[in-house]
Amino acid sequence: MTMWSWSAFFEYLFSPFLLYGAWTTIWLTVVSALLGLMLGGVVAAARMSGIGWLEKVAFFYVWLMRGTPLLVQLVIIYTGLPQIGIKFEVVTCALLGLALNEAAYLSEIIRGAVQSVGIGQRNAATALGLTKFQAMRDVILPQATRVMLPMLGNSVNGLLKTTSLTSAISMEELLRRTNLLIQERFLTLELFIVASIYYLVMTSAWSLVQNWLERRFGRGFEEEARLENAEQR
């Protein structure tokens, strides 16, 4: 047995089997991030609704999802729920687990960002005759988005890697497919390095998207950013 096989490394660097696994990782991330964002928005709205019981329900949800490991949640959904007659496809279980968990974290990010927009801005919007909904959509959220984007971006970056946990419930994403190959070929180091490169390419690509988004929503704040940088220097 050789220490390191370059030929095996290059053979698998562009392997369709692994590339397809990476593709699965990507869409798992995108779909669960979008679902998580929508649900997270609902949870954040519930926590700021001013309606006592609704706020408690939302608080309980966040407490529960953040207080237990995602792996445990996935296993409960995949192997626990069938015990009481609730059975989903693997893909559904993976998406459900990831989205429900992500929503809890995102709701806290959204809530913090919305609350960071000061009372003065709300008053200005209200005084102009905007309704609560209009004030939220046209004044608060665009500003909150700028505040939350870096945190949302980090969260998606984390999610991209967290999808690998779904391999434990036999979701055939990148890690699962890497493991399957390793069981066949015993090229442990080569294959894990290839998988790591895939993850790196994906997270780096996401960083580019994130930078673009932050610039896009930072309009009107460039001057401030420039001054802050100058002060730090």
């Binding site: 801005q121 919007a125 005084a127 102009l128 005759g129 905007l130 046209d138 309009r219 009107g220 704040f221």
Partner: protein, 252 residues
């Protein structure tokens, strides 16, 4: 419908308290069409709270406020509609930082009054020209000085064609050299007949264009009168002390 001789604003025995702490007590006054009412007084006297009650940004517990024929304290009243007829300018400007200067002046015109984009833009540009900032239309608020931002805020309020403009310490957050440009805009407005309520310490402004002055202390209106009588013939000891401190802070 309100009659043209009816006051634009009438407040009767307005009171507000947080627990046992009285913020406002027995505040009554009227603002007639075209009048400029100046509210002054030491900080913590309740003047900012009182002006925020006028468009329902703050609630109150006692009394009655009628603005343009609408009872502000009535829970059945659609306040958003009334608010669009009452312009307000804040101490900290509160321009929307994510919108351009023009966008700031256009937003509520489009959303609340339902004006078309071109209509709103035309009105915005006309008003920005009037406050001397037309060439800054495409800039974002952060790129402007405080005085310029406050002038945009005034244009934003005027764009709604308000019945009355409320100013809550519009020059208190400004560098001294920028106060003049904002006051100029306000003086012109007053001269054009705009009905205004101004919480301000700018006694020159009060003397020059004020129709009447209300002096507040500890949540009540202690003294009221024309600028003439208020400055020349100050009655209460508290107002005398206030004027002495604000006009001659070093005692000279």
């Amino acid at each position: 419908m309100p009659n043209s001789v009816d006051p634009v604003i009438s407040a009767e025995k307005v009171g507000k308290h947080y627990g046992h702490f009285r913020v406002l007590q027995d505040c009554s006054f009227e603002v007639k069409n075209g009048e400029v009412v100046v509210i002054c007084g030491p900080s913590g006297s309740g003047k900012s709270t009182l002006i925020k009650c006028l468009n329902g940004l703050e609630g109150f517990d006692e009394g009655r406020i009628v603005v343009d024929g609408v009872s502000v304290g009535d829970p059945k009243v659609n306040l958003t509609k009334l608010r669009s007829r009452v312009g307000m300018v804040f101490q900290q400007f509160e321009l929307f930082p994510h919108l351009t200067v023009e966008g700031n002046v256009m937003l509520a015109q489009r959303r609340v009054l339902g004006r078309s984009s071109s209509e709103a833009r035309e009105r915005a540009r006309m008003l920005l020209d009037r406050v001397g900032l037309l060439e800054h239309s495409a800039k974002y608020p952060k790129m402007l000085s405080g005085g310029q931002q406050q002038r945009v805020a005034i244009a934003r309020g005027l764009a709604m064609d308000p019945k009355v403009m409320l100013f809550d310490e519009p020059t208190s957050a400004l560098d001294p050299e920028m106060i003049g440009e904002v006051l100029d805009v306000m003086v012109n407005l007053a001269k054009e007949g705009m009905t205004m309520v101004c919480v301000t310490h700018e006694m020159g402004f009060a003397r020059h264009v004020g129709s009447k002055i209300l002096f507040m202390d500890q949540g009540t209106i202690v003294e009221r009168g024309t600028p003439e009588s208020f400055f020349k013939n100050t009655q209460s000891e508290r107002a005398q002390r206030f004027l002495k401190n604000i006009l001659h802070p070093m005692g000279i």
